[in-house]
C-alpha cells in the first residue's frame, strides 16, 4: 500500500515526500508481539538455541562466569567468616553448632559440576569444595523418625528441603569454596549448600541451619510452584541435560 503512487501527482508534488507507510508503528508492534511470544514460549526457544550452541545463550556472550544472582529479600546478608555458625538440630542425637573452621577441618570433597538454573542458564564446570552433607548428618546422628531436612538461610527468608536419601547423595555438599575461591557474599558465602544433581534453587545460599524433621516441608521456591524433587532434566517441565 505504501508503494502506491497517485498517477499524475508525481510531477507537481515531487518536492513533498509521500509519508504514508506506518513502518515505525509496524516495527514497534512487531517488537511488542515478538516480546510477548518470547516471554510465553521463550523457555522452549531457549532450549533449542541452547542445545545448538552447547551451554545456553550465555555461551554466545563473552566474559564473566555467567551466574545470575537472585535474592528473595533484595539484599545479601554479610556474614564474617569468623562469626559464621551452622546449627544442626531437630531430630538429631547431638545438636551441633559448627564454625567455618570446624567445617574446613572435616574431610573435604571437591566437585567440578555444571550449575543449572531452572530459568534456563547453565554455568559449565564450576569448581566446588566442601563437606559431604552425609558426613555432617553422621556427626549429628539422625534420630529414627526423621524423614527430611529443612535448610534455613541467613537472609531470613529462603528455606529449602531434601529427603534424607537425597541428602546422603555423594554430590550433595555443604560448600565453603566455589570458583576456586572462598564463596563470595553474592554467591551465598561463606557457606552454602550445593546439591549437584538438582536445579540451582536447591543450593541454598548463606546456609544458617539444618533441621531434621519428620515430614518434608517444601522450601520457599517450592511453595512458589517449583518442583520439590528438583532433578535437573526431570522436573519443573524442563529437559536440560542431567548434571554429572
Amino acid at each position: 500500500m505504501g508503494d502506491e503512487e497517485v498517477p499524475g501527482a508525481r510531477g507537481t508534488e515531487a518536492a513533498l515526500p509521500d509519508r504514508r507507510a506506518p513502518i515505525g508503528r509496524r516495527v514497534f508492534l512487531s517488537m511488542a508481539a515478538l516480546g510477548a511470544v518470547g516471554i510465553v514460549i521463550g523457555s522452549r526457544v531457549q532450549r533449542v538455541v541452547g542445545s545448538a550452541v552447547g551451554t545456553g545463550l550465555g555461551g554466545l556472550l563473552p566474559g564473566g562466569d555467567r551466574f545470575r544472582l537472585y535474592t528473595i529479600t533484595g539484599s545479601f546478608p554479610v556474614i564474617k567468616p569468623e562469626q559464621y555458625r551452622l546449627r544442626v538440630g531437630g531430630l538429631v542425637e547431638r545438636p551441633l553448632e559448627l564454625t567455618l573452621a570446624d567445617l574446613q577441618s572435616m574431610p573435604s570433597t571437591r566437585l567440578v559440576r555444571d550449575f543449572q538454573c531452572v530459568t534456563g542458564w547453565r554455568v559449565p564446570a564450576v569448581h566446588w569444595e566442601g563437606v559431604q552433607l552425609s558426613h555432617v548428618l553422621d556427626l549429628a546422628g539422625v534420630k529414627p523418625g526423621a524423614a527430611a531436612l529443612t535448610f534455613d538461610s541467613y537472609d531470613g527468608a529462603d528455606t529449602e528441603s531434601l529427603t534424607i536419601d537425597q541428602a546422603r547423595l555423594s554430590d550433595v555438599i555443604v560448600a565453603y569454596r566455589m570458583l576456586d575461591a572462598p564463596i563470595t557474599t553474592a554467591h551465598g558465602g561463606p557457606v552454602r549448600l550445593y546439591v549437584a544433581p538438582m536445579y540451582g534453587y536447591k543450593s541454598l545460599k548463606w546456609l544458617s541451619a539444618i533441621r531434621l524433621v519428620d515430614n518434608l516441608e517444601p522450601g520457599f521456591w517450592e511453595q512458589n510452584g517449583y518442583s520439590v524433587d528438583a532433578w535437573v532434566g526431570a522436573s519443573n517441565g524442563r529437559t536440560d541435560a542431567p548434571i554429572r
Partner: protein, 238 residues
Amino acid sequence: MSDELVSPTSGAAPPPVVGSRVAAPSVGRLLRFDGVERVAHWANATLFTVLMATALPLYFGSIESFVGRRALVADIHTWCGVALPIPLIISLAGPWGARLRRDVRRLNRWSSEEVRWLRSFGTRTVVNADKFNPGQKLNAAFIGGSILVMLASGSILKWFQPFPLSWRTGATFVHDVLAAAIFAVVAGHVLFALTHPQALRAMVTGTISKAWAERHAPGWLAEELTSGLVPDEASSPG
C-alpha cells in the same frame, strides 16, 4: 487546539515558541528540536545509559567483582527501568508536546523512497530526504519497542510471582537477547552522533544550519520553507 498554535500550516507566523528554552532560530538556521524534545531525548538517554551501565555488572560476574554493592546496583537498574517511559509520556502528553508528537508521526511514516531504502538494506540512497533519515526512523521505532518489551520482561523478572514459571524463563531469554541488540543499536546511534557533530549539536542547541538541511534533509527544508517558518535571508532585513 494547542497543536494549531505551533503548526507549520498556520501561515507566515513567527517561529513557534514552545517554552522559554526555545529561542527563535537565527537567520539561516532551522529549529530542529524544541526544548521539550531535547529534554525528553536527554532524559531518555540518561536512563538508557544508567540501565546499560548497571546491566553489565549484573550480567557479568567478573565486572561485578570489582564494582561490588550488587543490591544497590540492582535497585538502581530496577527503578531506572520503571522510570524509563516517564520522560516520553510526560513530554508527549501535554500541550507542550506538540512538536514532539508531530515528529513522532513523522518518524512513523515512511515515504515509498524510504521503504525502498529499507528493502535494499540501506544500499539505495534517499534523494528527497525527510527531517529524519530512515535509519533514524528505524532507530526511534526500535527504541520505542525496546522500552515496552524491556519494561514488560524486566517486570516479570522482578515481580515473578503472579506469572507461570515458564514465563520467567521466557522473560529472562527476551530480556537478554533484546539487551544485546540494544547495546549494538545504541552503540551505532552514538557512533553516528559522534561522526555527525552538526546533527549532534542540533540535539543540544535545538537548531541546525540551512546548509545542513539542504544536504541531508532537503524534503524537510522544502516543507519548512513553504510553511514560512524559516527566516529567508533574501527577504529578511540586513
